[in-house]
Assembly symmetry: C2
Homo-oligomer: 328 residues x 2
């Protein structure tokens, strides 16, 4: 099956389940960016991020026998909630392997979505892959990877189909499409969808400074790693390096990466609060930050950006409002 | 023209301009409410509230000659921004009469939307009606009332058309529809739309305690006033009494009013932040608060609520997060 056929098939399976998230805008953001800014608000997706698309696409593509045994994922974040919700949709078991020191709220939320949370001791030298592989083998569970899996990429690509259509409805035929990028599942899926449906729209990955593995890899023409794996408020989109399946897609279809600071992400969160009335998490605000604060690196009269998720603690959100929110 | 014909005509004029706002939900809210909660997120409308619908409906219904001279409105809040944006859409002048002690941010936002802001001295005994009438006469401006005007009610009714269709798509045929209620423009417009398009959906006005003029008026069968006109954080939906045009509509079509506390509104704002990823203003959260915290006053397996706006200062939002947001 071709990539776009797989995305269209995923869209068919997601119809009536995933939300067609709105494309928002504000004249106030246009003025800051110096061009028309169209914001694909995936924070309004079920479970608060785009991850539900890929998770539901993967679970719905499984053979019924395998699906009935259940699924497993490694994640302390948005992928965990996406997989938990998708498994719940089909009334099949989900096991989520999380570090024992994950935020209690995230553990509670994942459990509340019906998943079984298995904690492993990150400091004790246990590998989550070992823990997960044993459980998967014992119970016959299928692993749902966060990005390096064709059906997951296809599911995220359904966001790209919507962008292609919504941009056309808004009269935008040519523009950069800025995508919050971790492992490249969303960026790659959107890139494949736009290649087929809106070739005038050019996807570009956006990352926080210090975790710009994709931007550097695209510039170098080969996969490069981040120096560290944690330590950013943009936790939702931190990955050690681009994926094996996703990087070749990005290399073929994406323009240069954009890199923003954490403070610019907090500023973009405050502006999304004031001007769009949506909640963005720090990692979900990198693309909006790039549109607003890197205008010279972008071409054209319009720019499309994703807000990839909104799962942010109140404490972090308050920091964004205090630092940037009182005089927008 | 019948009421529903006027609403349908307004919908035709708003197509491609007003947003079809999404109907959101979360299993976490369903659990609190004890039933399925569907949230019409009008905070995502242009200018951050439903007021854009009525303003654009009114301005677009004007004769071109009169419209070219411009429009005028009295408001320091959401209606001001809606009228300013609607006038800007048609490139005609807008004058907004505001008290001189209105928040500077609201004055700045209204000016940034292209309107001329005329300040009057609330303490000095000047009546805004006198100020506005003089300017309107001198310049030939047309007054756009906030709710007691057929085209404004029809514009707000387009939100009801969308609710009727989205409820049907969600499989909900019978439910209470809780509407944040000030002067009754949104409640009345939605009520007229539902009467024609979804008679199984019953509109019910929601208000903050101490400003429950509509609930008391419905119970008494005649218009009753609030004891005071200010002093609530729910400023967006405070009016002294139900409208002359809107109250008969509400009396004919609405179920009993629901009343919530300010603290419940703050709690609902924090839950909208965590579970829906949208920004609600205090007055915009009264209906969600009623759905979550007055379950015994509501009938049925599902309830539909409006979030009528999201224009809230960061300081007030931080209070909601601090008091209710850290452990949702």
């Amino acid at each position: 099956m071709s990539d776009i056929a797989r995305i269209r098939a995923a869209a068919g399976r997601l119809a009536g389940h995933a939300r067609r998230t709105p494309l928002l805008s504000s004249p106030f953001l246009d003025e800051i960016a110096g061009r028309h800014v169209l914001v694909k608000a995936e924070c309004l997706q079920h479970t608060g991020s785009f991850k539900y698309r890929g998770a539901r696409a993967a679970v719905s593509a499984m053979a019924p026998d395998a699906r009935a045994k259940g699924v497993i994922a490694y994640s302390s974040g948005n992928h965990a909630q996406g997989v938990a919700q998708a498994a719940r949709d089909f009334a099949v078991p989900a096991v989520i392997v999380m570090p024992a020191d994950a935020p209690r709220l995230k553990i509670a939320n994942t459990r509340a979505l019906g998943a079984e949370v298995v904690l492993y001791d990150r400091a004790g030298g246990e590998s989550r892959e070992d823990v997960g592989a044993r459980i998967a083998r014992d119970r016959g569970l299928t692993l749902i990877k966060p990005y390096d899996a064709p059906e997951v990429i296809a599911g995220q690509g359904t966001c790209g189909l919507e962008i292609a259509r919504q941009a056309r409805e808004a009269g935008v035929e040519a523009a950069d499409v800025l995508v919050c990028c971790g492992g490249g599942g969303l960026t790659g899926g959107i890139a494949l969808a736009l290649e087929a449906e809106a070739p005038g729209l050019r996807p570009r990955p956006c990352e926080p400074a210090g975790f710009d593995d994709t931007a550097r890899s695209l510039a170098a023409g080969r996969i490069e790693r981040n120096a560290t794996e944690s330590g950013s408020i943009c936790d939702a989109i931190l990955t050690p390096l681009p994926g094996e399946l996703t990087f070749p897609i990005l290399r073929r279809l994406c323009g240069p990466g954009l890199v923003v600071t954490e403070d610019e992400c907090l500023h973009a969160m405050a502006l999304a609060f004031h001007r769009l009335k949506v909640v963005a998490e720090p990692g979900g605000a990198v693309a909006l930050a790039a549109a607003l604060f890197r205008p010279k690196e972008i071409a054209g009269d319009a720019v499309i950006v994703t807000i990839s998720g909104g799962n942010v603690d109140a404490q972090v959100f308050e920091i964004a409002l205090r630092q940037h929110g009182h005089t927008p």
